[in-house]
C-alpha cells in the first residue's frame, strides 16, 4: 500500500474531476469508482476509500451527485452514485479549468527547455 507522497498535492483537487468524469459514463458504487479510476488511468491515478468518501459526501451535499441504495444478493446493499445536472455543469467547468492549467504548465515547461 505505497503512496507517492510527492504526487499528493497534485492529486488533491482532481478527485472531484475524476469522480464526476466517471459518473458521466455510468452510475457507479464506491469500490467501482476506485477500481475504474485505477484501470482507466492506466494505473497512474490510484485513490483509496479514505480519500474518496470526503469528496463524494461533499458532492452529495452540493447536489452535484445523488445516491441510491440497491439490494445486491440477500443482505448486501450497494450505494450507487449518479451524476446530476449541477454535477454535469461542474464537470464542464473543471474540464475547462484543467485544460487551461495544463496549457499554462506546458507553456512554462516549453520556456524552460533550451
Amino acid at each position: 500500500m505505497e503512496k507517492d507522497q510527492s504526487q499528493n498535492a497534485f492529486r488533491r483537487g482532481i478527485l472531484s474531476l475524476v469522480i464526476l468524469g466517471l459518473l458521466k459514463k455510468e452510475d457507479m458504487y464506491g469500490y467501482q469508482l476506485v477500481q475504474m479510476t485505477k484501470s482507466l488511468s492506466g494505473g497512474r491515478i490510484i485513490t483509496q476509500e479514505g480519500s474518496l468518501y470526503p469528496v463524494l459526501y461533499k458532492l452529495l451535499d452540493q447536489k452535484m451527485i445523488s445516491d441510491k441504495k440497491v439490494l445486491v444478493g440477500k443482505r448486501m446493499t450497494r450505494v450507487y452514485y449518479h451524476l446530476e445536472p449541477a454535477g454535469q455543469e461542474q464537470l464542464d467547468k473543471l474540464i475547462a479549468e484543467f485544460r487551461d492549467i495544463t496549457e499554462g504548465i506546458q507553456l512554462i515547461l516549453k520556456e524552460d527547455t533550451p
Binding site: M1, Q32, Q48, E49, G50, S51, Y53, V55, K58, R78
Partner: protein, 133 residues
C-alpha cells in the same frame, strides 16, 4: 461469526477511533467501507483479512487519506475544538487538585486550633478492671 467477521468488526472499530470527524460521519464512512469490502470479497472470494487490509489500508492510513481530502476550514475547526477540550480538561484537573489541597489544609488547620496548639502524637488506652468477688 467467522474469524474474518470478527477481524473486520475490530477493523471498523479501529477506523472509527482514528477518523477525525463527527460520529455520524464516522458511522457513514465505516458503512461505506464495509460495502466496498463486501464488493471486494465478491470479486476475491478467498481473500483473508491481511489481503483486505493490504488493499484498503490500515485504519491509520484510511484516517490519514481522509484528513488529506478534508476541507482546510473544517480541519482547522476540528483541531481548534480538540485544543479547547484538552485545555478545559487540564484546567479542570488543576482546579480539582487545588480545591482538594485547600480542603486538606483547612481541615488540618482546624484540627490544630481545636487542640489549642497541641498535636496528637499518640493515644493512651486505659482499661477499667472489675473486681470479682
Amino acid at each position: 461469526m467467522t474469524t474474518l467477521d470478527a477481524q473486520l468488526k475490530k477493523y471498523y472499530r479501529a477506523i472509527k477511533r482514528e477518523l477525525l470527524c463527527p460520529g455520524d460521519t464516522k458511522a457513514r464512512i465505516c458503512k461505506d467501507i464495509e460495502n466496498d469490502i463486501n464488493a471486494y470479497l465478491q470479486e476475491n472470494p478467498g481473500a483473508d483479512f491481511a489481503a483486505i487490509e493490504e488493499h484498503f489500508g490500515s485504519p491509520q492510513q484510511i484516517a490519514a487519506t481522509y484528513v488529506e481530502e478534508m476541507p482546510t476550514p473544517e480541519l482547522l475547526k476540528k483541531l481548534k475544538i480538540r485544543k479547547r477540550i484538552i485545555a478545559a480538561v487540564c484546567i479542570a484537573v488543576v482546579a480539582a487538585i487545588s480545591i482538594w489541597a485547600i480542603a486538606i489544609a483547612i481541615a488540618l488547620s482546624n484540627e490544630y486550633n481545636i487542640s489549642d496548639g497541641y498535636i496528637e502524637t499518640g493515644e493512651i488506652i486505659t482499661e477499667e478492671w472489675e473486681e470479682f468477688e
